[in-house]
Symmetry: C2
Subunit: 308 residues, 2 copies
């Protein structure tokens, strides 16, 4: 895989020589992020947007990382701890209820170099899977010891997870974020959604509407186009409606997860601010945490559990 | 537009010389269909799948038609009656409640040759538009004089229309069909949906589930992937669930349109059979009619209303 060719964004915190004693990697839905680590401290960070971690195999990861982190001095003996859906890692899923990271983190048996994939979590009924979310949750719990409540991990697939006494008890995934992206990129709504602004008043109205009549989603989404064609929609209204309708319907279905619960949102700021506003309007304020920061904290906690 | 190059499917009913005295055209969401007409009788038919009628302009239509209907003998004086979203025709929308075709059909003022676009219908509140559906409804009413009830036009955008005393009273559009296509073609569910079979028992279960909990759509759709990844889903289950969940949610929102009503479904057979099964299971049997046949009958009725 020509990772370098697909390089979307690449930043280093420093130009000094970088000698990590281990490397932390978050293979998230929005790309690949790597940190050069010295113990518990990140000395450099590199980021590649838009890659699909599902293409990565255990042995393909290290050359890909070498490409991505060109200035870093690390060899085949340097441990790599990675979270997210690495190919083949589905087998290693752990069943809830369980702690997000388990007791120890075994080395991948199929990799020539020391690679430590953090196992994802699975739920039997309703059947569900998270891969990467467990590490963000672990990071959040490392930074907020003893925290109990419900964590919503936003993203293309958002996950509502019930956390109690340090364990993930149950969770449920929604594809609202992916639906929003599909509709913006590929649907007949595309011309209406070619804007960057989200009007927060319109967003709030759409959330409230969708929360009370979630079944009308496929009709209300189409009405975005009618509003656009008739020229009656203001700038920022269409994107506000798209997000509001999808998040509103998600809140309607996830009600048992947020009603009267202690809440935290983990995600990218542009998404968590929408979920936070929607929940706030329902009288359910949430703590907001940044996904990358939680992933780093979780990977650091996972590193401490590595074996051998 | 290189219509010939995009030719998907082309059939003539006969090899004899074809001399239409007028041409009927249905610019539907699934392609372009044209009939060589002698009075009320279709003597030949040609069809092009996958074209997007929204690209067609009044003056671009005739050369495109000449390409498509290579064997037909018709000139610049031959009237063409067309339904569907011809570019620029949005201005000609008629407001409901009204008869599907109006009193007379004026010639397009911006076309050099005699072209008669059937105006679509618009509804002020909730804002909605149909372009092409009015002609299918007119065809259905021509074949079923005096029929009163609710007509559901299936398609990428399905439309539920209340018909009373020969008029379209109100209607509502849903993008369920387009959502199904987006999810099959572009989403992370794509691998799970790469099948052609629909298990009707699984379909029925998904409809019923979605009708009672329509807000869970974004979670249940994602569960299709979990079922596929775990290998627990049987052949035909995933596509059945996709369609069942979307149609179930649509039925939940369209309930006032079908509950206790006299019902007709107009569409492509593979879609109407799903809607018919879903409605039947709710104790709401529907008459089923084929979209192309209704369009032809409607265009014939429209031709009788042409002016000049």
């Amino acid at each position: 895989m020509a990772l370098a060719a697909r390089l979307g964004q690449c930043r280093a915190m420093t130009d000094k020589q970088i000698n990590p004693d281990w490397v932390a990697v978050d293979a998230g839905a929005d790309g690949l992020r790597a940190w050069a680590m010295q113990g518990g401290r990140a000395v450099a960070q590199v980021q590649q947007a838009g890659s699909n971690a599902r293409d990565l195999t255990a042995d393909g990861l290290r050359p890909a990382l070498q490409d991505l982190t060109a200035g870093w001095q690390f060899g085949s003996k340097t441990p790599v701890v990675i979270c997210g859906p690495l190919e083949g890692s589905a087998a290693a899923l752990r069943a809830v209820p369980c702690t997000p990271l388990g007791e120890s983190l075994p080395r991948a048996s199929d990799a020539a170099s020391p690679l430590y994939p953090v196992p994802g979590l699975r739920q039997k009924s309703p059947a569900d899977v998270m891969q990467g979310g467990e590490t963000r949750i672990a990071g959040f719990l490392a930074l907020n010891p003893g925290w109990d409540g419900v964590i919503c991990l936003t993203g293309p697939h958002s996950i509502w997870a019930e956390v109690s006494a340090g364990e993930v008890v149950s969770f449920q995934s929604f594809m609202s974020g992916e639906l929003a992206a599909l509709l913006r990129q590929h649907s007949t709504l595309r011309p209406a959604l070619a804007q960057a602004t989200i009007d927060m008043a319109d967003f709030g109205a759409a959330v409230s509407d969708s929360l009370s009549r979630p079944e009308r989603l496929a009709a209300r989404l189409l009405a975005i186009r009618s509003g656009h064609l008739s020229g009656s929609a203001a700038e920022g209204a269409a994107l506000a409606q798209l997000n509001g309708l999808l998040i509103g319907a998600e809140l309607a279905a996830a009600r048992p997860y947020w009603l009267g619960q202690n809440l935290a949102l983990i995600g990218a700021p542009e998404q968590t601010r929408l979920y936070a506003a929607a929940l706030e309007a329902q009288g359910a304020p949430a703590t907001v945490a940044e996904a990358a920061r939680m992933a780093l904290a979780g990977l650091t906690a996972a590193y401490r559990l590595t074996e051998g």
